[in-house]
């Protein structure tokens, strides 16, 4: 029997905008297939050993809460996160979590806050919040039965830019994406996936959820071939209604 261990980093601090919907989606889609799942939370003062987990999730927080984790994150945990990302561990980072994986965050008034630096990307604070529904196309999810379109909602003031080693998660067809300038949304590096699409990113996009589970199982089990398919008609309805609404 297959087993997936999910680690949620700072769930008591980085928990904005329904981020836990992503954990719920990963958990349910494993359980529906008879894959055993366990949930582990790692927060301030806890030791983070990436080897103990198969999927690591980092959400977004309010500035106030992100300020609280700074010291804790930039110590031992930073080193472990960099190693795990390089080693190909499956990470999902949303909004603030996405920014924290990058090299730095430069605030609107020019102050530079050092971040983890696991990915070659950086963020500049903007004066205007980029808020609204988001639709973007992920080539790596595209196949003959699926258009690769992912739907979400973004709410951020930081504008993120990607270095050459980092691929975007997708191309924006509705919304702002990373910075509202280059037409890209999110980031992808090895098995790390980042997005500004918060809250309910995974539930409405089961193809992406299953991609993360597949990558995690492939790394862990030599005999794993593919996930069995599920009845996703409700999820498809939700995804398609948004694509239709915003492509008009």
């Amino acid at each position: 029997m297959f087993e997936i261990k999910i680690c949620h980093l700072y769930p008591d601090l980085l928990n904005l905008y329904g981020d836990r919907g992503n954990i719920i989606a990963l958990t349910k889609r494993c359980q529906w297939r008879g894959i055993q799942v366990s949930y582990h939370s790692i927060s301030l003062g806890d030791t983070f050993d990436p080897e103990a987990y198969d999927i690591v999730f980092m959400g977004g927080g309010q500035d106030y809460e992100q300020g609280i984790i700074q010291d804790d994150l930039m110590g031992e945990k930073r080193k472990r996160i960099i190693e795990a990302v390089e080693g190909g561990k499956v990470f999902l980072a949303i909004c603030g979590g996405f920014q924290l994986l990058g090299k730095y965050y430069r605030t609107h008034d020019g102050k530079e806050i050092e971040c983890i630096g696991a990915l070659n990307l950086w963020t500049h604070g903007g004066s205007k919040r980029l808020i609204g529904n988001l639709v973007f196309a992920c080539d790596f999810l595209k196949n003959k039965n699926f258009d690769g379109l992912v739907v979400g909602f973004e709410n951020h003031s930081g504008k993120t830019y990607l270095g050459p080693e980092v691929e975007p998660l997708g191309k924006v067809s509705k919304g702002f994406g990373n910075n509202g300038e280059d037409g890209f949304e999110g980031a992808r590096y090895k098995n790390t996936f980042c997005s500004y699409s918060h809250g309910s990113l995974l539930p409405k996009n089961p193809a992406l959820t299953d991609h993360l589970i597949t990558q995690a199982l492939k790394r862990k089990y030599k005999d794993f071939v593919a996930l069995q398919s599920l009845d996703d008609s409700i999820e498809a309805m939700a995804r398609e209604s948004l694509i239709k609404r915003f492509s008009a």
Partner: protein, 461 residues
Amino acid sequence: MNRIRFLFANWVTKMVTYALRLVKSGGTSLPGKLALKLYPGILGELSGRFKVIMITGTNGKTTTSRIAASMLEQAGIQFVTNKSGANLSSGVISTLVGALSLSGKPRVPYALLETDEAAFRTLAPRLKPEIVIVTNFFRDQLDRYGELYTTLNNVREGIKGTPSTRLILNADDSLCASLADKVPNTVIFFGMADGVYPQTGTSLNTDAAFCIRCKTKYDYSSVSFGHLGHFNCPACGYERPQAGLECTGISSYDSQGSRIEITGPDMQLSVKLSIPGLYNIYNALAGAALGYTLGLEPKRIIAALQDFECGFGRMEAIPVKDKWLKVILVKNPTGFNQVLSYLLTQEGSCVISFAINDRLADGTDISWLWDVDFELLSDMQDRVRAFYVSGIRAEDMAVRLKYAGIRSDRILMEKSFSLFLNRALSATEEKETCFILPTYTAMLDIRKILRKRFGLKEFWK
């Protein structure tokens, strides 16, 4: 010159209000918008004409306003109030102008104003309220304000501009209680006595788990819900303040209401509340604190708490033939969770339906549905005849229910409100209740249909 502009704005605004009523539009903010256009300085002119009581905070404003109105009635005070939740500047101005005579004199001495948290920042310093009640701070429509701390700071700024106002604050909310920091205002706190509501530990997903002063994680000796409770910071010592008015006992608590003990300075009240839900006990405490501040006798405070009308769409039971229809507004995770725990107190079968819109007034981001504990409903799903989903975001709600463990065949979607009401009602059996949980604009639309079909009274009266 200003007097002429003021009177002109007053007259035109009145005419527009009457015209809107004639065409049976519930438009409660348009007249105020117009008044502001005609005379941008109108707020300054309005202040001083009324003794103002303002109620703000993220949850429970409307119900608390209703209770406050009941207190004023018991005190024999005549007042005007913005009844239908028109709580932005324009709605407040519409209300105040509506209470002026043609010559611009106030027809009543008091104004009781439910005020949006962002609007409070500018309105409070202008209107110089005698009393301000702040209910609580929970995450609410973050896409509009950015962050919960922004919302808190809006209220803090508003209070800074009005130092002689008496404040009524929630002691159990570490964010709300912090409004008393470093201000000269007189403050009365209300809250739940330690351990009255026997729940321990906060959930992971709370809005304010870390000290607002020093960012250390709070310890709690008891929690009522969300982040409300007896908090104390182990590092800097910031703790839940002593409350002047406390709920010291809950002797009964069910789907009909509760019986509670309230202990205040020189008073001990035993009150039967006919509004269910723990959050309404907080609203009642806030109202009682207002009664106390106004100098009401205890028996009058009890009377005010025991008979007040439920707020606009907050929890009204509508008889439809031999069935009941209950419409309960939902707008953020904490409020929604409270509604769900109320639903769990239901015995027997019922129909539960959700009407989720994502217009501006609802909050365009519906991600918060993932912060609501719909998982609670999976245990009672065998008693629920069907879960209906409707509204612009019906599909999102269906996904949420599916991932909460509700069986897919029990989740029924009908996007048109009119058809959805037909289907949900016909799925409800004799003497049972059909619950409708709408977001704000969905509630307005549903009310419109119900008014046409069943002749419900117009809400702005």
